[in-house]
Assembly symmetry: C2
Homo-oligomer: 414 residues x 2
């Protein structure tokens, strides 16, 4: 009876502190690039995900939480944020002044079989820029994701950006006379598994899709060869910004059909974390699915579970539970009212103050405050209440300072 629902996490204060630290760095970095925060409900009409086509229907049917409400509406717990933000942009297309830079930190749900690192509820940073066809938008998106990593204290050697371009890949397939969207989509999905299957397996599956042997070998050569793609403007723009841990990977596919150009993912270089930490790309046609006009868009998402895994692996986690600045400790019940008043006065001076009115002994109260990393304590006995002369104890250094309330408040602000 004390366990949470299967596949979701309880955030006790020590875990919540980590979560808040991650969210704070995400928010601050996004805002440092001029992104504005938005949000929406976890509940979305199920149709929102059906609009996106076949590949997503499979996801809606097998991997989402979709149910029928008491008013016979089909409702889904959102599995990703992109359809939501595209819906919101389409809904205000006339009022918004493009380009628009938006970010959000939504919780998302997928019904997955439990695996290491796989949970049914997770959080993501989602950043998107709408209304720019310019390569600068692609460059900005990737450099923002890169900067998030750096702002956690990561060194570029700890991670790498893998890069591909759907438009370039489409041109390549066209050069082989492969123009059918379904065939391209099937190749793309197979490429996504390129690093996970053997050469033979890859080629066998590719043969099933494209038939001719010469096509199989041309595609295999393209996908397997590291390609520097020297004339891609996004890549050269990123290198001009000093971002050098970027690698062209022609097998990179991303899960969704809606990408139209640049796609990228960020990976931990440590083999401990095999799943990508971040991923995104350009998707220029999504808003038109919701009745809006076409709006160019580039965006990406970073997941909390893989982010935390990365930070733990590289010893970059420094978050701790918030503690008050000061704990006032009444010696006995008689001093409690005075302690409550005193705390009220310290708080009015912007000093976070707790009153420990428990019946623990003073020694226990002091050690409890010390364990929680509280810096100051005031023990309040009959004498202190009468004289209004207080002793402020620094729990780190052991140093003691005596004075009136006003004198001690001044000490805090000094």
């Amino acid at each position: 009876m004390t366990e949470p629902y299967k596949g979701v996490r309880d955030f006790y204060p020590e875990d919540m502190a980590v979560q808040r630290y991650i969210f704070d760095v995400w928010a601050e970095t996004s805002e440092s690039f001029g992104y504005e925060r938005y949000d929406a409900s976890v509940l979305e009409p199920a149709e929102l995900y059906k609009a996106k086509g076949a590949e997503n229907e499979e996801m809606v049917n097998e991997q989402t939480y979709t149910f029928t409400d008491r008013g016979e509406r089909e409702v889904t717990l959102r599995p990703e944020m992109t359809p939501t933000v595209a819906r919101m942009i389409a809904g205000r297309q006339k009022q918004l002044s493009f380009p628009v830079r938006w970010y959000s930190i939504p919780n998302l749900f997928r019904y997955e079989r439990s695996q290491k690192g796989r949970v049914r509820e997770h959080w993501q940073l989602n950043c998107d820029i709408f209304g720019s066809d310019d390569v600068s938008a692609d460059i900005e998106a990737i450099s923002l994701a890169y900067q998030v990593m750096l702002n956690f204290g990561a060194d570029p050697s700890m991670f790498e950006v893998r890069f591909n371009d759907r438009a370039e890949m489409n041109l390549f397939y066209e050069s082989l006379e492969i123009k059918d969207a379904e065939t391209v989509s099937a190749i793309t999905r197979l490429n996504d598994r390129f690093h996970k299957v053997s050469r033979e397996e890859y080629q066998a599956e590719l043969t099933k899709i494209v038939g001719k042997e010469e096509l199989v070998s041309a595609i295999y050569e393209k996908i397997s060869k590291p390609d520097d793609s020297g004339n891609n403007k996004v890549l050269s723009g990123l290198r001009e910004l000093g971002i050098s841990n970027i690698k062209v990977d022609r097998s990179l596919s991303r899960g969704f059909d809606y990408y139209t150009g640049t796609i990228f993912e960020i990976f931990d270089t440590s083999p401990e974390n095999a799943r990508s930490i971040a991923g995104g790309g350009r998707y220029d046609n999504l808003t038109s699915l919701f009745g809006g006009e076409r709006v160019a868009a580039v965006g990406f998402a970073i997941g909390d579970v893989t982010m935390r895994g990365f930070l733990e692996t590289h010893n970059l986690l420094t978050a701790s539970v918030t503690a008050p600045d000061l704990v006032v400790m009444p010696l006995g019940g008689a001093e409690v009212p005075a302690a409550l008043r005193l705390a009220q006065q310290f708080r009015a001076a912007d000093i976070a103050t707790e009153v420990d009115f428990s019946d623990r002994k003073i020694g226990k109260k002091l050690s409890n405050a010390g364990d929680r990393m509280v810096t100051y304590a005031i023990v309040l006995g009959e004498e202190e209440v009468k004289s209004e002369k207080l002793t402020l104890k620094n729990l780190e250094s052991g140093e003691e300072t005596s004075g009136t309330l006003t004198e001690l408040v001044e000490k805090f602000s000094a």
Copy 2:
């Protein structure tokens, strides 16, 4: 297709700014009293709500979002946070050092018919102190809720705290020889509607519950008479802290059977907002329902919808969308790479910087930045790129300062 699911809200940046402002004041005030933040998933096993007894079964059956997942588990979107936090406390009872002060800002779901101010998803501040039987815990809970109001800039004349005590009411019923829990519960539920029904209606319904006329008139007299309850220690403690907008209201009931002592609600004194802004009380037996030992508890919740209504009514809303400190505006496409590099350097100096690489004219870029309350702009032409001499324009005062990057960064930190 661009509308959200019925009964939930989209938070476009301007609404999100209000929501974040409210959450920030909630979080800061809670932490100023020494409360630690926790969270849990919106998904809970449906049994969690069934454990609480008959009155809640009605709520689970008729007002929650409960559905069966693909693994045949019954799952509920949490309608309130108290069962979750009681479950979490019961789960770590042995490790925790009581008293424990926790807060959370969960989103909650109820399937309600749409009414003014009623939504199907809302957020609450939930604050609880566990492990203290002392009246000081009751005093702290109410003074924390009171301080939240003050920290939004509210004057005590704008709201009032209504107070009652379940234990005192039970003693009163016992003095009338009413000891049966179900009868007391029925009276309590009727009292909850005391201010909404006529005297005749109230007395008629009460007669159905207790029968004898002398009981009806004794209870009516108790409920209708303002009672100063001079010897209640929680009340006197609150008055010692200077909290005087508090009123004993013997009809006050709160919705849940789990309360065992103090109960309170905060109301707007303006008739525009009739629903309570905050409510809570002491509930000493809840953890034992989840297999834990009894843990004394006092807590309260404040809702975002009624909070926002209060702030709007009293003109206390000051939130605005975050904007970058600076927008760098390349004159043409040739200056974009330099603009991206420059922005990167300003950000490294902790100056939030956006690059407006859109094809808008410079006048439009400047007015757009001004509309968004951005303070500074730098226009970057061929000349500026070559000379590395930049002009920083203050969009509020019109003042201009020229200098190198380093000189301008210094100006920001001055």
